[in-house]
């Protein structure tokens, strides 16, 4: 199989951190706060690496959009088994307003450029809970999508996806190339072991700018205010 898989990994505030709203209420405090890979992205990487270990795909490419720090996240994906990484450089104001629409445009462009056969993303990010990037990417590429996947099986050039939906489980068969978004029960991500982290240092990460891909990252959304929720259950 000569398939190439693109996996999106997002750098988010670590799930265990207590979130604090910035005093000016324009966002949350991110300075000096512990960040890590979005848990659903970890599951996505794990699935891609598993496919490679089963020799069903040839290459796993980890992609992340953001400033210099996202390289750590890409490196973690490399340590988990991805072959190479792509860092799409977005920083400053652009990064603050980066959302699913812009990211999906970037992914669509990259999928064409890298001639990817499969894109695996986490179903949503734990910071914005958008749950849109996968769907938008598929739409932009006009590819089929298997979202909320709890099981993925490659059968020749078709993908059988078991989806977690409100009523239970739905099984669908979609053609490749396709977009899959990973749900919680898809797999249990492996630890990036220290020896693998050391080996991953030798793997390549290429830098690319959104402009190079012909993508405009300006946002059409404006955040008016961010507030801490009052205690649940109190009126």
């Amino acid at each position: 199989m000569s398939a190439r898989v693109l996996v999106g990994v997002k750098r988010v505030i670590d799930y265990a951190v207590k979130i604090r709203v910035k005093p000016d209420r324009t966002g949350v405090v991110t300075d000096g706060v512990k960040h890590s890979m979005n848990p659903f992205c970890e599951i996505a990487v794990e699935e891609a690496v598993k496919l490679k270990e089963k020799k069903l795909v040839k290459e796993v490419v980890a992609v992340s959009c953001g400033p210099q720090q996202v390289q750590e996240t890409i490196r973690t994906a490399l340590a988990m088994g991805a072959d190479r990484g792509i860092h799409v450089e977005v920083s400053g104001k652009d990064y603050e307003t980066l959302g699913p629409l812009q990211v999906s445009k970037i992914f669509a462009a990259l999928a064409k450029k890298e001639q990817a056969d499969l894109i695996i993303l986490g179903k949503q990010a734990i910071d914005d809970d958008c749950n849109q990037t996968g769907q938008m990417t598929a739409a932009l590429l006009d590819w089929p999508q298997g979202t909320f996947a709890s099981e993925v099986t490659l059968e020749a050039d078709k993908l059988k996806v078991v989806r977690e939906i409100d009523g239970g489980l739905e099984t669908i068969k979609i053609n490749l190339p396709a977009v899959v978004t990973a749900d919680l029960r898809l797999n249990t991500p492996r630890y990036a072991t220290l020896p693998n982290i050391m080996k991953a240092k030798k793997k390549k990460i290429t830098n690319v700018k959104p402009a190079d891909l012909g993508v405009d990252v300006s946002s059409r959304l404006e955040v008016l205010k961010v507030e801490k929720l009052k205690e649940a259950g109190r009126i």
Partner: protein
């Protein structure tokens, strides 16, 4: 101070050297190595403090690692933290007194069994600094931390630092993956602190190809599981005079060699998940290729191994205390009594300050020492490492106790981890060299060094080296006339950042250092060779030195933080100033007690009390309710 006294000193120090040698304590090994006069660094930072000299180039600026290394270590830390937070059930490990195989496998897969083994043998090849950094996380579970440390900080260290290439190639790969676990076998039922008195024997077979090992080792961590052991035994050695002597040799012993039985695991107060047991060797056949270093050179190997591993206790302790601060402050800020949260009360705030200061000093000292050890060459930081160990073990004990106190009754229950941390912590003051032995080592190593230098100078004087005469006289005059001291820490070209000199905290350090130097000199005059017996004096000397080293570490670290603009560096300035002020006054008191006929010194009485009680082996006083009529 006159010249005659100096000459008397030289004679007594020479005698002192022989006394040290004859005692065969763990101190004599360094005599063969240290050269006196080449003032070229060789890392004599702590030792030169005994001469009242501050080698600021050794410790300023604070050691720094490259950006790549920092990124790497941050990357390495993440999965380990995740593992310890999610897959380590410390309560279960403590309760069942065993580390489950799945957890052990997880640790092996993460690569934590070969942190310092070179990459060519399958390890991670990380530096001391990185090892210390990972130690901050593994310390979250005491049993695991000790198991890992017993395996790599001491168990296989001998092969790493003193083994030949064949031994390394044979044993290190499986040790790196954790397929084989290592243990360090020195202690015996009759030989704990007095390591040189071990009785396990290794006799050469007739054909000269094997040693037969016979004896019992005690308190061996990983003893029940270890496949590869570094064992120390006495063997007959013919020295250069043709005389037969019994000297200690280090051996790599495989369990597969046979004749090895491990006793049942000890039921301990803390670190209950760590396996500790007795190991008996009965005619265990060890091939001569498995001798580490030279036959008869085992003691040096043992001391090098132990000195090498101690510094990481600082970062381990700091990691644990930082976690405790988080847990305890959650409670203190939410629990209310008298309509106010505990965090508003002074005595509670005092505890948090204690924990913060201790963590700050511990990590500063640990990383300073690790940074020094990572310098090229083979720097000897055994003195500095010992100081880190003493400070960290005692600091950890106090901090855990205070944290427990904040939670009151809750802290006392098994529903919270405090009691487990407390029990796990207690061993820190005992193993890897008891704090009593280490204080002796710290004090005597330094005093001997100072004594040698002073003797050397006297010899020069006697030879007629006028330069030295003027140097000594000049110093004496200056000390008696000029009251201020300047080691180049403060002022225009000072290495310490100006913010730390505002309230003279760096100056306080310099004053203490100078005072310490002259106190050491006067102690050497007063006691000469008998200083070895004066443990209470040596304890104070060691305590002053530990404080001085701690002050150095925080001054150096904070100077760097300010200079590069690290986040929250003004908090560091606050911590540094607080600690230095405290330490300065403590040192002053200790140094006052060390002066001749000091009224503040209660040592003579303390000894008398102990003697009277120990003579009767009981409390001696009559009962307060007794009558005489």
């Amino acid at each position: 101070m006159n010249l005659n006294k100096l000459i008397v000193l030289s004679r007594s120090v020479k005698l002192g050297r022989n006394v040290f040698a004859a005692r065969g304590t763990c101190l004599h090994h360094f005599q063969s190595r240290r050269f006196i006069r080449s003032s070229a660094s060789s890392l004599a930072y702590a030792k030169d403090l005994f001469l009242g000299k501050v080698n600021k180039a050794e410790v300023f600026p604070y050691p720094e690692i490259s950006k790549e290394e920092l990124e790497e270590i941050n990357q390495l830390v993440q999965p380990v933290e995740k593992f310890f937070n999610e897959d380590v059930d410390s309560v279960k490990i403590d309760h069942e007194a065993v580390i489950p195989p799945e957890t052990l496998n997880g640790l092996k897969e993460l690569g934590l069994f070969g942190i310092q083994i070179p990459e060519e043998y399958g390890g991670l090849g990380l530096s001391n600094t990185m090892y210390a950094r990972l130690g901050e996380i593994t310390s979250l579970d005491g049993a695991i931390a000790v198991t890992l440390a017993a395996h790599q900080a001491i168990g296989l260290k001998g092969i790493l630092i003193a083994g030949n290439d064949a031994q390394k190639a044979k044993y290190l790969p499986k040790l790196a993956t954790g397929e084989h676990i290592a243990a360090f076998c020195l202690t015996e039922p009759g030989s704990g602190s007095d390591a040189a008195s071990i009785q396990t024997r290794a006799t050469l077979t007739e054909d000269g190809k094997h040693f037969l090992l016979n004896g019992t080792k005690f308190w061996i961590s990983n003893g029940g599981w270890a496949d590869i052991m570094t064992v120390f035994a006495r063997s007959e050695v013919v020295d250069k005079d043709g005389q037969k002597k019994d000297k200690i040799t280090a051996f790599i012993v495989e369990r597969a060699f046979g004749g090895i039985t491990s006793g049942k695991p000890e039921d301990k107060l803390g670190i209950r998940g760590s396996n500790t047991c007795e190991i008996t060797f009965e005619d265990t056949k060890v091939p001569i290729e498995n001798v580490i270093g030279e036959v008869g050179g085992g003691f040096k190997v043992a001391m090098n191994i132990l000195n090498n591993g101690r510094f990481s206790m600082g970062s381990a302790g700091a990691g644990m205390i930082k976690r405790l601060i988080e847990l305890t402050s959650e409670y203190a800020c939410t629990r209310k009594q008298f309509s106010r949260s505990l965090s508003e009360f002074g005595m509670i705030q005092d505890k948090f300050a204690t924990m913060t200061l201790n963590a700050f000093v511990m990590e500063s000292m640990a990383y300073l020492t690790a940074g020094m050890m990572d310098r090229p060459g083979v720097p000897d930081c055994s003195l500095e490492a010992a100081m880190v160990k003493v400070f960290s073990s005692e600091g950890s004990w106090i901090c855990v106790s205070e944290a427990l106190q904040v939670l009151g009754g809750l802290g006392f229950t098994k529903n919270y981890p405090y009691e487990r941390y407390l029990r796990d912590c207690r061993i820190l003051q005992i193993f890897e060299g008891t704090n009593e032995i280490l204080r002796m080592y710290i004090a005597l190593t330094g005093m001997q060094y100072a004594g040698k230098i002073l003797t050397g100078k006297i010899k020069e004087m006697k030879k007629g080296n006028v330069g030295v005469v003027f140097e000594i006289l000049g110093k004496k005059l200056k000390d008696s006339v000029v009251r201020t001291v300047d080691f180049g820490l403060t002022g225009k070209d000072g290495v310490v950042h100006p913010s730390l000199t505002v309230k003279n905290h760096a100056k306080m350090f310099e004053q203490n250092a100078a005072h310490f130097g002259s106190t050491v000199e006067s102690l050497l005059y007063r006691y000469g060779k008998t200083i070895v017996e004066e443990q209470l004096v040596l304890k104070k000397v060691a305590d002053v030195l530990i404080n001085l080293y701690a002050m150095t570490a925080v001054l150096s670290r904070t100077s760097r933080s300010i200079s590069i603009g690290l986040r929250n560096h003004d908090h560091e300035v606050l911590l540094t100033n607080t600690f230095c002020k405290d330490a300065h006054f403590k040192n002053n008191f200790l140094l006052t007690q060390l002066q001749k006929n000091s009224p503040e010194n209660n040592d003579a009485n303390i000894k008398k009390i102990a003697q009277e009680v120990l003579a009767k082996r009981a409390y001696v006083c009559s009962h307060p309710l007794d009558r005489t009529f």
